[in-house]
Structure formats: C-alpha cells, structure tokens
C-alpha cells in the first residue's frame, strides 16, 4: 500500500513493469517506462577533481617541495628557527626551533581541517643535515595537547620522544640532541598518544641525512604522501602529496628535460595500510630509505607502507605533462594526483 517498505519490491519488480503494462493492456505505459528507465547519461569528457582552488598564502605545496632548513624564509626571519655553526672536525652543529601549534589549514578548496602542526604547516619544516652533523632541536609545545618529536635515525633512547615521560606538556619545551646518521631519507613525527590522531592531525615532517660524499647534483623534490580524516571516522576523506588535494594538477611541478630529478618520497598516510606513487610515461630508480647509493630497482610504481620512504631518481626524456598519482585509484580520485611539466628538447636518456 505504501512505498517505503515496498521499495525493495519496486526495485526487484522493475524489469517486470513492461509486462505489467501489457497485462493491463496499456501500451502507452510501457512506452513511458522504456523511455524513462533505461536511458543513461549522455557522455561528455568527464570533469573530475575538487572544485575551486586552495589559498597558498599560509602554505604553498610548491614552495615546500624545494625548501629545507627554513630556506623558504627571509634571512632575518630564518635565523629565529635555524642556525649552523662549524665544528672543529669539519661537521656542522645545526640548531633548530620547532614549535607545535594548533592551526586550521585548507586541505582542499574550501575544506578546512583543524590541524596540529609543527611551525604552523603540514607537513612540518624539512630538516636536512649531512651525515655526522650534530643536531640540536629545541621543541616548544604551544599546542593544546602534550606532544613530542620522535626522529627516525640513530639516537639515544632518552632522545626518542616516544615514552609517556617524554611527552612535552603544553607550554613546556625540550631539546633533542643527536648526531645525524645514517644517511638516508627519514622522517620525524609526534609520538604522543593516541598516536594515530597525533600523526593524522598533521604532526610530521621530513628528515633528510645526506651522505658525506654528496649524491650527484639534481633537482630535488620533497614529496610527502598524506591524508586527512576530516569527519573523524578513521578513514581519510582527502589524500594528497604535500597536503593540498590535486594541487599539482593545477600547478604542475616544473622540471627540465634530461636533468636528474630526485624525489624524496615518504608515506605518512594514516588508516590505509599502503600508499604508492606511479609516474606516467617514465621509469625511475628506487633507493629504499635512501641508505645506499646503489640500487637494482627500476620501476614506474613504488609502494610504501605507513612510515616507509624512498629516494627516487629519474630524467625526463620528453617535454610535456606527465601525470603522477597513487596507484590506489581511490586515493588518486580523492586528491592524490598531480602533474610534472617537463620543458626542453627531447633527450634520450
């Protein structure tokens, strides 16, 4: 008599509708049915992706791509956060100031996420040293919850930032001090509990240790695969490389044909077991965790688990646009997709 409980029937019986019409001698009804229920969509080129653009005033994913040790700041501003002092053995003492602060960030056009950040940005500022350098990181917790910084790399357990007694209370500070080793592509993140929340709220950043013998000169890019659970259902609504959904679709990463390009890639996505990077029309060498300077792995798709990272090297052969994205199509369609734009004349590499 009434539709709601009968909708299941309505659906099941849908195909019988033409028969019903015939049964009652109503050809017109059947004509109406055919016309209305079987026509699908008229196809044009489908336009996907978020609508609009994100403001880059507070955070620019493109600037983040090529900045480390606060190189994106003006010199007078930079000294407040970063200082290097030569040591007798030829290494450097590198001193950093990292401040945890709550901040709302725009992760997709018009979508604002109540993030916990290092220095007001997600990912936090990239820390980069050479193997053997001394690192002294002053951590100030100006946030609303206890936080820590937990670095990947060799260090004393007291500097681990992982145990309950390591938690830095709001308003407090702590100085982490250790030598930069081993060389490779590492990361740092908050290790206060609940861990998932402290990480996915935005408390993570890249920590690169260069080998004493530098890697070959290259165009170096820092790429953080991250995600945001905007409705707190333990599943990400937004995926990206460097925080902003689809940012590099609109502002492709500019590279030169033939020049060595080195990507420092890390997966800090929460909730999903794996993430990946797939580069179109190209292959690249993979240096897992960047702890060796030789590799036998050449691929166009690299898979990383949570917290795993890799150094990728390649040279663009053709000028033009090259798409890159997670090969988890779901992540790709939720923002983790971008473009390289190579300029120059074709070079066989």
């Amino acid at each position: 008599m009434l539709p709601v409980t009968r909708r299941s029937w309505l659906r099941l019986a849908g195909l019988g509708s033409a028969a019903a019409a015939t049964l009652f001698g109503a050809r017109r009804l059947s004509a109406a049915q055919d016309q209305s229920s079987h026509g699908a969509m008229e196809h044009a080129a489908h336009r996907m992706g978020p609508v609009g653009r994100v403001s880059t005033e507070a955070f620019n994913p493109a600037t983040y791509l090529r900045a480390w040790n606060f190189s994106d700041l003006a010199p007078e501003e930079r000294v407040r956060y970063y200082k290097e002092t030569p040591r007798p053995d030829g290494t450097l003492l590198r001193e950093y100031q990292i401040v945890a602060v709550d901040r709302e960030i725009e992760i997709a056009p018009g979508v604002f996420f109540p993030a916990w950040t290092f220095n007001g940005q997600v990912p936090g500022p990239t820390i980069r040293a050479t193997e053997g350098d001394r690192l002294r990181i002053t951590f100030i917790n100006a946030g609303s919850h206890p936080h820590t910084i937990h670095f990947h790399g060799w260090h004393h357990p007291d500097m681990d930032g992982s145990m309950p007694e390591h938690q830095v209370m709001p308003g407090d500070r702590f100085v982490y001090e250790f030598d930069a080793e081993p060389f490779g592509m590492h990361l740092y993140h908050c290790h206060a509990v609940p861990l998932k929340r402290h990480i996915h709220k935005g408390l993570y950043g890249v920590f690169i240790v260069d080998p004493k013998t530098p890697r070959p000169e290259a165009d170096e890019l820092i790429m953080v695969m991250n995600g945001f659970d905007t409705n707190f259902d333990a599943d990400n609504e937004v995926y990206a490389v460097n925080t902003v959904a689809n940012f590099f679709m609109h502002e492709p990463i500019k590279v030169e044909v033939g020049k060595l390009v080195r990507m420092y890639l890390v997966n800090v996505t929460e909730f999903d077991l794996l993430n990946s990077l797939h580069l179109h029309g190209m292959f690249f060498d993979v240096f897992r965790t960047g702890t060796r300077t030789t590799t036998s792995e050449s691929t166009d798709t690299v898979m990383l688990c949570q917290g795993e990272r890799a150094v990728l090297e390649t040279r663009f052969r053709y000028p033009g646009k090259f798409m890159f994205h997670a090969h988890q199509s779901e992540f790709a369609e939720l923002g983790w997709m971008g473009l390289f734009e190579a300029a120059g004349v074709r070079r066989d590499t």
Partner: protein, 410 residues
C-alpha cells in the same frame, strides 16, 4: 468550527460587552513584549555564552532527493541544522567531482540548494554521494539502483492516471459488485461482513501509521515528522466526526429516507479516498524519488488489496438497495483520489506532504472503523459484541485478507 459552535459564538456576542479598540490594544501588549524579548535574546545571545568559544558549528545537511538525468546527478540539499553550512566539495563513489550549486555554497538554517554533479552514473548500479562542508563533515546519500528519473510530461501523467485506475478506482468498483450477495445476508451475516470491514480498516490504520512513522524518521528533524503525523491523524478524525454529524443533521432535517447506513458508507468512502490519496502520493513519490519502477506484482498486489476497500464501502448499505448511481459515486469518492495522489506525488514530491496525507488517511480510517464498530455493537458494549464468535471470525478474517494480499505488495 461546527454549526453549534458558530451559533454559540454569535449568541455570546449579543450578550457580552463589545470588544473595543482599547481591549484589542491591550491584547497586543503581550505580543509587543514578546517581540522585545526575542530582540533581546538575539542581541545578547545567551545560548552563545553556554556554547563557549571555539566550539565547532552544528552542521546538519539533509539530502532530500536525488534525480538522475542525462546531465548527471541532481541533489536537493537542505540545511536542517541551526548554524549556516558551507558546501565545499562533493564526492561520488569516493572521487571528488565537479559540481555547481544553484543557490550558492552557503546555506542558512532551512536554506535549500540544488547541486548538479555531471557524474557518469551507471545504469543499474549503486552510487554513494557525499557532500562535504567547509569543516570536512560529510553527509551521504545512497542511490541503491541508478535508473534515469522519469521527467514529468504528458506520458508520465497518463501512466499515473492508468496506475491510479488500476490500483484505486477499478478495485473499489469491483468490491462494490459484492452488493447483491451482501444484501441477501441476514443480520448475523451483515455483522460478520461489517466486522470484516473493521478488520480491514484497523489493518490499514496500522499499516499507514507504521509507514508514516518510517517516512517521518527519514525526514529532516526540523520538519518534526512524528508530530506532523499525529496532528494529521487527529485533524482527520475530528473533521470526519463533524462531517458525519453535519450529514446526519442535514438528512434528519430533509426527512429523506436515507438510512444511517448511507452516511456510514459515505464516511467510509471519504476515509478510504483520503487513504488512497496518500497511497497514490506514495506511488508517485517512489517514482519521483528515482528509486522505483512499478512492477507487475506490485500493481496486482495493490489491485487485490484495494478490492477489499470496495467491500468495506458496501457492507453498511447492503440492506438498502442503493442505486447504481449512488454506488458509482461512492466508488469514485473512494478510488479517484489515488490518481490525484499519484500526480501530486510524482510532480511535487515532498516527504512533508507524504506524512500529512498518510496521517489524514489514518485518522479518517480510525474514525470510520470506530463508527462501524459502534453500528455492529448496537445496544451492546463494544467488547461484548466483538467477543461473539461470528464477529470475531469476521474481524480476524479481515486481518487475514489484508495480510495475505499485503504479502503480494511486499
């Protein structure tokens, strides 16, 4: 207002002192004070103080309707919460998609917009749409089976008319054809028949109520579906009660030979008509919601089910040998509203209308069922009369018939 009430008011005016402008003026004082109070509340915002600082806004979006067209998916979205909501993004099946919003991105309390999403939906498959607000909160709508939503045109109206005829008018008319048999029954036979009718109507009442409550539960909270339903039930019950009283009074004055049976039959027809309007509305709405294709079994089920409604109309006048014209009129009153309902449901779908009309139908049916029960009881009390075997058998048979034909409808 009933005639008696109107008469009382009129006589009251004659004896009591006239209502002067001064008294009207005094009556406005509380209203003026109330306005001042509301102004004060808005200015000072005591609720804001309770909420404290940095408390996220309460966001509640209701997706009222999804229509599938050749251009994609069209969503009607309502802000059902107290705070303004900004629609930032839309995903379909976990993919951000292009969309446009007819009334802009910001929706105030009870503000509405229409989102057009050029998404290449797939016939016969399911799609999940999420509307994401500026805070990242998501509101979901599932399209269980994607089928192009019929657009209202001449064919559409014709199809609804035919469906209305099949499930409303013809079955009621068929039920009326039992009159010759009913008229040959003795007193006990008529009582059994009337009890059967009561059984049918009580079943319909329960069915309509549960459906309406289910629909109300799915409605945006601001529409207060349950209250709306119960108010509609009471309104219809009282309206029919007073309509019945008016009919009886008129007949008595005109000294027409009409029996109480005819009044009862007319009331039943009106009640069933209201109910069938709600039913038609529901059928039309199922189409309009883009969730349904009407199937063979469903049409047959409705047809069988509604034939019993015709029986309910003829039972009280079985002894009166009414003319064909009278019968036809009763049949049309009971059946025709199905067509009107189907049109209304298909053309201007609204869950509010659905709940209201289901409520009106339920209230009317309750009133009619009680009337018949009183007639069956006669001098006896209701419980005494209904406890006798023939009446009980009739009542249970009424439930049984409805239940069995209801199975066909699912």
């Amino acid at each position: 207002m009933t005639r008696e009430a109107a008469a009382r008011t009129a006589s009251g005016d004659a004896t009591s002192p006239p209502v002067t402008a001064r008294i009207w003026g005094v009556a406005f004082v509380p209203l003026a004070l109330l306005a001042a109070l509301i102004f004060l509340i808005i200015r000072t915002g005591p609720a804001e103080k309770l909420r404290g600082e940095n408390v996220p806004p309460v966001e509640r979006l209701a997706i009222e309707r999804a229509v599938l067209t050749t251009d994609g998916i069209v969503l009607d979205v309502l802000n059902d919460g107290p705070d303004p909501v900004t629609i930032a993004q839309v995903t379909v099946d976990d993919a951000y998609w292009d969309f446009t919003s007819e009334s802009g991105a910001v929706l105030r309390h009870l503000g509405k917009t229409r989102l057009t999403i050029p998404y290449p939906w797939v016939v016969g498959e399911a799609h999940l749409i999420k509307v994401m607000t500026s805070t990242g909160t998501t509101f979901e709508h599932e399209i269980a089976v994607a089928v192009r939503t019929p657009q209202p045109d001449r064919q559409f109206l014709l199809a609804f008319t035919l469906i209305g005829l099949y499930v409303g008018v013809i079955p009621v008319a068929l039920g009326l054809l039992w009159l010759p048999l009913a008229s040959r029954l003795g007193k006990t036979g008529i009582d059994v028949l009337l009890a059967l009718t009561v059984g049918l109507l009580v079943f319909l009442f329960i069915d309509a109520s549960s459906e309406a409550l289910e629909m109300a539960a799915g409605m945006p909270g601001s529409y207060q579906g349950v209250t709306l339903f119960i108010s509609s039930v009471i309104a219809a019950y009282l309206a029919l009660e007073s309509f019945g009283g008016w009919l009886r009074a008129r007949r008595a004055r005109a000294r027409s030979a009409g029996s109480p049976g005819f009044v009862l039959a007319l009331l039943i027809a009106v009640g069933i008509g209201l109910h069938n309007f709600g039913e038609g509305l529901a059928i039309g709405a199922a189409y309009a919601l883009g969730e349904a294709a009407l199937g063979t079994l469903l049409v047959i089920g409705f047809t069988l089910h509604n034939t019993t409604e015709g029986l309910a109309i003829v039972a009280p006048i079985a002894k009166d040998r009414p003319s064909i014209w009278t019968l036809a009129r009763l049949g049309l009153i009971g059946g025709l509203p199905t067509i009107a309902g189907a049109w209304a449901g298909g053309l201007l779908y609204s869950p509010v209308l659905g709940v209201v009309f289901l409520g009106l139908g339920a209230g009317a049916i309750a009133q009619v069922a009680l009337q018949i029960a009183r007639q069956v009881a006669g001098e006896h009390s209701l419980s005494e009369r209904f406890a006798t075997a023939p009446v009980m058998v009739g009542l249970l048979a009424g439930f049984g018939v409805m239940y069995a034909t209801g199975l066909l409808v699912g």
